[in-house]
């Protein structure tokens, strides 16, 4: 189904071509036009990104192009990237890796293969986008469960209750204050740290006093 959407959405793509205006760029633009994408070619790359593109073709040579690298750095949402490479020498290959392209279009550009490289790039890009989302979600889940455990331990120690009671107390507090469980847990941990700090400080103050006596 996701694959179907990639094909379905082809014509709505905003495509940017960052490549010198030569025969390859011309051939690519014509094929993009046949496919029906909205394509725009700019060279040299603009110093600041204007219209955000969904898909960007970039020239990849043996030395990194500063203008392209800067352009990509300034682009907030990373677009789908397709590298246009005329050589398969190790330095070109390294640049393909460093630029984190989603797929490659070999030069000289022929009409065949443009569509496939777009499809593969979009699939990779979507996959990594959705992976990023999943990772972020899992991260916050793990963090929250850490917090919850810590907060429960604090309550168990302070009030001498069991884990289940501690959990319910936190949940009730969250409902009462209209906060998330994670927020309440964080408050408990913070409060505990503060209390602990105060006591620890007083003890050390006492130590100083006794030493002075």
């Amino acid at each position: 189904m996701a694959n179907d959407n990639i094909i379905r959405q082809l014509r709505g793509l905003n495509v940017l071509v960052l490549h010198p205006r030569d025969g390859d760029a011309e051939e690519l633009l014509q094929q993009l036009n046949r496919i029906g994408c909205r394509a725009n070619a700019i060279w040299p790359p603009p110093s600041c990104p204007s219209d955000p593109a969904d898909l960007t073709f970039i020239e990849v040579r043996e030395t990194p192009d500063e203008a392209i690298t800067n352009y990509l750095k300034l682009t907030e949402d990373r677009p789908t990237l397709i590298g246009m490479a005329g050589y398969e020498s190790p330095s070109v290959l390294q640049n393909l890796i460093d630029l984190e392209v989603d797929s490659v279009l070999a030069k000289p550009v022929r009409p065949y293969g443009v569509l496939s490289s777009i499809i593969v790039a979009r699939r990779n890009w979507q996959q990594s986008k959705s992976n990023e989302k999943i990772i972020a979600k899992l991260k916050s889940k793990v963090e929250n469960s850490h917090k919850m455990n810590e907060a429960k331990i604090v309550l168990m120690k302070v009030h001498d209750i069991n884990e289940d009671q501690a959990y319910r107390a936190i949940r009730q507090q969250a409902m009462k204050c209209r906060k998330t469980i994670a927020e309440v847990a964080q408050s408990i941990i913070d409060a505990n740290v503060m209390l602990h700090d105060c006591v620890a400080k007083r003890v050390s103050d006492d130590d100083d006093l006794s030493e002075g006596a």
């Binding site: 094909i7 082809l10 036009n33 046949r34 029906g36 009409p111």
Partner: protein
């Protein structure tokens, strides 16, 4: 003709199957090609030189197309080929053509998603035939479609396009089956049984070649009636109807840029010459007309270039127009496909197609239309006959 014998002819390749499963339609394409070549030669040729065809018969064998294309292009005098019907045969010939920088005229409807700078596509792309046909069927017959096709790339891709449009129109595909290209009459029996069981509103057939004759005949013999439950197709044509007979053909529907009995001056002239050369116009089809027009487009280009080089031909063919039997056509300079008429016709009890609907002007080809929407048709106003 007053012409010196030293004038070397322009040699071109002609690659249509005269035998095998797709020979009915490819013979009609061959005849369209030869008629146009005759016309050009009788009018004095190009720069005083005749066009001389090298004709080979790949016998509906896909691999043979490639072998023959290689043989043809090995001749340094030969750089242009007219030929191919099935997509699978075009895909075989394409790498040979591109490698040698030859030039192929492909006078057949196909599923789209191709562009080669070395090919001129003379048949309809799905936006020119599938889309209008789907809309016509949804409006006139209902929303439950049953797909039957030959098992190769064109029917599957063509059905993918059709399925998308049918769904958008709120319809559904209630059955989808494929049979091999050489399917006999009895091979369709289980499908016909399934059709009776499912009882769809319309059958959409992408069966090609001799299978078409077998399918329609089997349908008729099993009690099927085209006036009640029609078979709609993009390929079924006059030549196949002539073989299956009027009773098997009656009531069924085809979408194509051209039908034999359309009334244009060019068509009358075309049919007159065809009848004089071949004795009858029984097997004149839209693919035959496309083949005929493509030879004339080539000849007109050759008059300008004086060379059969692919780069020279391409430069003048892009945007070239021709007053074809179907009406004026034009090669789209963006994609080498052709602006074509779009017509939908139904077979009467007399076995003749009657145009029920046609676009008021040629439709721009859109070979990369992945997901056609019903709205796209809005670009091409329709006239109802």
């Amino acid at each position: 003709m007053a012409r010196s014998s030293s004038d070397k002819p322009w040699t071109v390749g002609v690659l249509f199957s005269q035998t095998g499963v797709t020979s009915i339609i490819e013979n009609s394409q061959l005849k369209g090609t030869l008629l146009a070549i005759d016309e050009i030669n009788q009018a004095g040729g190009i720069e005083g030189r005749d066009i001389s065809p090298v004709i080979l018969d790949p016998a509906s064998n896909v691999k043979q197309y490639r072998i023959y294309a290689e043989e043809m292009l090995a001749d340094p005098e030969l750089n242009v080929i007219f030929g191919c019907y099935m997509s699978s045969s075009r895909k075989e010939v394409l790498p040979v053509i591109e490698r040698q920088n030859g030039f192929l005229f492909y006078p057949t409807l196909y599923e789209g998603f191709e562009y080669s700078p070395n090919v001129i596509y003379g048949g309809a792309a799905p936006n020119q035939n599938s889309l209008p046909l789907a809309i016509y069927l949804l409006e006139n017959f209902g929303s439950r479609f049953y797909f039957v096709g030959s098992d190769y790339i064109y029917p599957r891709e063509s059905n993918r396009v059709m399925r998308n449009i049918v769904r958008q129109g709120g319809g559904q595909v209630v059955g989808e089956n494929y049979l091999s290209l050489d399917a006999r009459r009895e091979d369709f029996e289980w499908i016909l049984e399934d059709i009776r069981r499912v009882s769809p509103d319309v059958i959409f057939s992408t069966v090609v070649g001799i299978g078409t004759v077998n399918f329609y005949t089997a349908y008729h013999e099993s009690g099927g009636d085209g006036f009640k439950l029609p078979i709609a197709s993009l390929t079924t044509n006059e030549a196949e109807v002539a073989i299956m007979g009027r009773s098997a053909a009656a009531g069924h529907i085809t979408a194509a840029p051209y039908f034999r009995n359309i009334k244009t001056d060019e068509n009358a002239r075309f049919l007159g010459k065809y009848a004089r050369k071949f004795g009858s116009v029984e097997d004149v089809t839209s693919c035959c007309e496309a083949a005929y027009s493509q030879v004339h487009l080539f000849a007109n280009a050759l008059r300008l270039t004086g060379s059969t080089g692919a780069d020279q031909l391409r430069a003048v063919l892009r945007g070239a127009e021709f007053e074809a039997p179907q009406g004026r056509i034009k090669i789209d300079p963006d994609n080498n496909h052709t602006y074509l008429q779009s017509r939908i016709a139904r077979l009467g009890a007399d076995g003749e197609y009657r145009v029920e609907r046609e676009a008021v002007r040629p439709i721009k080809p859109d070979p990369y239309l992945a997901v056609p929407t019903l709205n796209d048709w809005a670009n091409a106003p329709i006239g109802t006959n």
